[in-house]
Amino acid sequence: MADYILRRLGIGLVTLLGVAVMVFFIMRILPGDAAVMMSGAGAGAVSEKELAEVRSKLGLDRSLPVQFAEWAGKVAVFDLGTSLRTGKPVIEDIARRFPYTLQVVVMAMVIAVLVGVPMGVLSAAFPGSWGDQALRALSIVGLAAPSFWVGLILILALVWMFQWSAPLFWEPFWVSPWKSITQLFWPALAVGMRQLALIARMTRSIMLEVLGEDFIRTARAKGLSEWAVVMRHGLRNGLLPVVTLIGFEVSALFGGLIVTETVFSVPGLGQYVVTAILNRDYPAAQGIVLILAGIVVLGNLTVDLLYGALDPRTRVQAADK
């Protein structure tokens, strides 16, 4: 087991390094000159000499491998440079925005799991019922709807029904937790809709499979109540693949967030990374993309390790490898 963990950690580290290299080079080949952007977009107004000065100040005149080595060295000590647009250290910008994004992701997942898992279990417990049919139809539609469009429609519905208006100021969680939760509920719902549908669908199909197993028949034959059969014997065994799905879906959640934060104007990382990429703000874009990808790598690693902890069978297989 220890061998397996070490190997997974090693692969994770190599992946992170690969991510860093990719992030650096993708951002460097972005068309548009950062030096021109920095010196005020009025191209032509700046002389070649001034541009050269800005370039050497930013280190853009050195060779790419040297620039990469310098950047990577700083990243290792959490120095992501200064944003060309806001003029503040990128790490500060990220630290201020990260809590919002984290909260939306967590809330979206909680909504998806709390609604999706029971829906899937009920659906599998009564296959073919009208509730089951409705759920399958809903989950198929939920998978088809783009999250930013769901967000737009949600905003429309909220305004029509409750005269809701988008908050001008988004309360940080630690200042007033309840207000922050109510404010971020709608963006979280829009982002989590897809995962809700996925989780409900997956729970249903796994539960259907598990409920057909011999040990379920044994449990029924023992005279256990249907509740105990489904919840204790069925769900326990069906939950593992769902846990995996949740882990891997973190990546998809970030993807959904990027647009949905823009729709709701939530001041999170998604909105920040879009503006950074579209404005050729290298340090900011590099930093944030690296951090998001890093979170995904860590998420996948956690799922792999959790899986071993949750299911004794995989531990044996891993040891065999």
């Binding site: 190599v14 690969g18 068309p31 539609v141 998978l143 088809a144 469009w149 429309l156 990027i258």
Partner: protein, 297 residues
């Protein structure tokens, strides 16, 4: 692969009637999949014949009717420039379908080729390819597509490439898992023993056996690519005005106007939902038809 599910593709030309009967039987078995295929077919026809079907020029605004509600003349209303929403929706179908089909095909073909060849070869080629794919997989799909679109610049072919980049490593992973299993089978060993070249083994023996899962993910990514294309347009990194695409119809002034003229954002979203729904239903049906475990249920 001589089962009924895949039969239409290989039935000789003389057996026309049998082919139709097979199709009809499949449609009866998979009504939802048939519905999806039908919807996609109608969309493709409408997209190709856009100049015929669109009642107005999608780029020509009518200053006399800005943001008008759906009415007898403009069935889906007009946008902030007085352009007919129905016509823009019809022309937008061209972009969505082209990008969806283009990106999923390109991504799956390139990814599968990389996955199959590197897994078959093994060794350090495989290790390096694997690590590169792992790194690519760490980026959220839309984020990678957004960065690629920004690097390449906004144009239709570039948007297709940008969306294909995150699809490729996912296709490579699927191809890899089938090739790993195939490599250990006796019929591959037999092929090698009879002196088949690597190229022949890959093309004639491995490719046909990885085709089913690849086809299934190609349909899955068709829908996803359409959604993400709309997202790129919405963020301003994709198709640009005055072209009309479904994502573009929802962006910019449309969002600001959503409260007074909600039809502008509602219809393109519904169009996306319908297209993605159709491709998902078709994908599910294909998976059921190709999966021997599910067949006959």
């Amino acid at each position: 692969m001589s089962d009924a599910g895949a039969a239409p593709a290989v039935v000789p030309a003389g057996a026309r009637g049998a082919r139709w009967r097979t199709l009809a039987r499949i449609a009866r078995e998979q009504p939802l999949g048939a519905f999806g295929a039908l919807v996609l077919l109608v969309m493709v026809v409408v997209a190709i014949g856009a100049p015929v079907f669109a009642p107005f020029d999608p780029t020509q605004g009518d200053a006399a009717s800005l943001n008008s509600a759906p009415n007898a003349r403009n069935w889906l209303g007009t946008d902030a420039f007085g352009r007919d929403n129905l016509s823009r929706l019809i022309y937008g179908a061209r972009i969505s379908l082209m990008v969806g089909l283009g990106a999923s095909l390109l991504g799956v073909v390139v990814g599968a080729a990389l996955g199959i060849v590197s897994t078959y070869r093994g060794g350090w080629v495989d290790t390096i390819t694997q690590r590169v794919m792992d790194a690519l997989l760490a980026f959220p799909m839309l984020l990678l597509a957004l960065a690629m679109a920004a690097v390449l610049g906004p144009s239709l072919p570039n948007v297709i490439v940008a969306l294909a980049v995150p699809i490729a490593p996912r296709a490579a992973r699927i191809a890899r898992s089938s090739v790993l299993v195939l490599k250990a089978t006796t019929f591959i060993e037999a092929a090698r023993a009879t002196g088949c070249s690597d190229l022949r083994i890959i093309v004639r023996h491995i490719l046909p056996n990885t085709f089913a899962p690849l086809l299934v993910i190609a349909t899955a990514y068709l829908g996803l690519a359409i959604v993400q294309e709309a997202a790129l347009d919405y963020l301003g990194a994709g198709i640009q005005e005055p072209d009309s695409s479904w994502g573009l119809m929802m962006s910019g002034s449309a969002t600001a106007l959503a409260l007074t003229a909600p039809w502008i954002v509602i219809f393109p979203g519904l169009a996306i939902c319908l297209t993605v729904l159709a491709s998902n239903l078709l994908g599910d049906a294909i998976r059921d038809l190709l999966d021997p475990k599910l067949r006959g249920k």
